[in-house]
Amino acid sequence: MPTKKYAVLDAVALFYLQKKNPPKVLQNLQQEIINRRIIVIIPTVAISEILWKLRKEGEKALRILKEDYLIWKKSNNIIIDSFDAEILEKMLELKQSYELHDEIIAMTCHKYKTKIIYTKDPKFKDFWDLNPISW
């Protein structure tokens, strides 16, 4: 049985993953999730950022996000990961200051010992030697 791969999503990747026709890279990720070939990590900070935007769109948007959130929670290959002491302890090892948001996301990758992050932000490769998958 091959070891499952882990991947972290940032807010933009998470948002477009819910689209019917997202970019090809995210369509492939949808299939990997459905066929349980990957475990995706959703940092709570990414959900908060989508919430911030969708709340402005009105009640319907907020209801949809709540429904999606409950589905993510009950999917056994989707992990909703909180900013916790383990991430903080990894941040304490960093010698330099980065944008806090990016530090949390990058240290979430370290927590799950994965280099795979779905994001359009090139900083994750430049600063933390991660392997961003972009579209």
């Binding site: 807010a11 948002f15 689209k19 070939r37 589905i71 999917s75 944008e99 948001h101």
Partner: protein, 78 residues
């Protein structure tokens, strides 16, 4: 009436789902199936992943890079 094949069951109960049927049902390595036993009939169904219900849910909305930057600023007050 659907298609039919004959299969020999192995000592531990394994059978092979024909490749053509696997492709039609999008059954891949790691896919989960549900088996339902009823008298002398066994039904096999691909188990739906809950995430399938999320796909298309945010089609009416957008979240741009700029939105993302603004959301980050809102959280961290950069």
């Amino acid at each position: 009436m659907g298609e039919k094949v004959e299969q020999k069951v192995s000592s531990n109960g394994r059978v092979v789902i024909p490749k053509k049927w696997r492709e039609k049902m999008d059954l891949k390595d790691g896919s989960i199936i549900e088996l339902e036993y009823d008298e002398d009939l066994i039904k096999l169904k691909k188990k739906k992943h809950p995430f399938e219900d999320c796909i298309g849910s945010l089609d009416d909305f957008e979240f741009t890079e700029e939105d993302h930057e603004n959301a980050k600023k809102s959280i961290w007050r950069i």
